[in-house]
């Protein structure tokens, strides 16, 4: 496969790559800076947007949108499962402790 490679000089891929990396950084920072569980989930969503953008850009620029669309759809379904399960955890934790603060989560028992 590597022997069949070609190179796109001055590719537009780098602009998508830069924005995707910036989105991943923004999401990571949002997860790191906050103590609110819902903000953590939204930060994770922004990171996922960055990954989706880079998948779509890679598929488009290699002319392989079939594989990239299949990957994106699988990724989106996985994202929904993770977010819904995490939302369930957040609500369950809120019912138990009455708080959304991540600093109190180490007091969970059983």
């Amino acid at each position: 496969m590597t022997g069949e490679g070609m190179f796109l000089s001055h590719s537009t891929f780098w602009s998508y790559f830069v924005v995707a990396m910036t989105l991943i950084f923004i999401g990571l920072y949002a997860m790191w800076a906050t103590h609110n569980l819902i903000r953590v989930l939204i930060g994770m969503e922004i990171m996922i947007k960055g990954v989706t953008l880079i998948l779509a850009a890679a598929g488009f620029l290699t002319g392989n949108t079939g594989a990239s669309q299949a990957m994106i759809i699988i990724f989106i379904v996985l994202e929904v499962v993770v977010i819904v399960a995490a939302a369930g955890v957040v609500i369950g934790y809120f019912r138990k402790s009455g708080s959304l603060d991540t600093r109190t989560m180490n007091k969970l028992q059983g």
């Binding site: 910036t22 947007k49 399960a85």
Partner: protein, 163 residues
């Protein structure tokens, strides 16, 4: 400025607004708008199926999930949900500066270099890719969905101390 650059700039601005918003509801709305912009970008990249999924699930379903979680958890922290955390902007403004620096460093270091493109998997249509190439992933997704549904049922059921 061409359309691609305009759209990805708007995407970045929406993501920054989402993180900087004080109210959690505004954050959820900002995330939905980010998803809509990403949908337009994906659609312009000749990926309509992925764009439809992104619009219906990420901009629709996940926003509904977030709004439900925010409304269910509001009684515990109404002040924080409306006004944000303590020293909100002081906490998040370094993110804007750092993200702009990262974007500038990446753009200046990668802008002129070439991007390798391989042809090994070209000309696979969407149906073949999803139902044949990714068949194992589909089975894994089904298992994940059942696990997620079971987890939600367990987590949402009435707890003893709720009564």
């Amino acid at each position: 400025m061409n359309l691609d650059l305009f759209l990805i700039s708007i995407l970045l601005l929406c993501a920054i607004y989402t993180v900087l918003a004080k109210s959690l509801l505004k954050m959820a709305m900002g995330l939905a708008v980010t998803s809509v912009i990403l949908t337009i970008i994906i659609y312009t990249m000749n990926s309509p199926f992925a764009a439809v999924f992104e619009l219906s699930i990420c901009a629709g379903l996940i926003t509904v999930v977030f709004v439900s979680v925010i409304s269910l958890t509001e009684p515990g922290s109404p002040k924080e949900q409306e006004r944000g955390e303590s020293q909100h902007y002081a906490r998040y403004l370094p993110m804007v500066v750092l993200s702009l620096i990262i974007a500038w460093v990446l753009a200046s270091s990668l802008g002129d270099s070439s991007f390798p493109v391989f042809r090994g998997l070209q000309r696979i249509n969407f149906r073949e890719a999803l139902w044949e190439l990714r068949r194992t992933d589909i089975l894994g997704l089904l298992a994940m969905m059942f696990a997620g549904i079971y987890g939600v049922i367990v987590l949402f059921k009435e707890l003893r101390y709720d009564r």
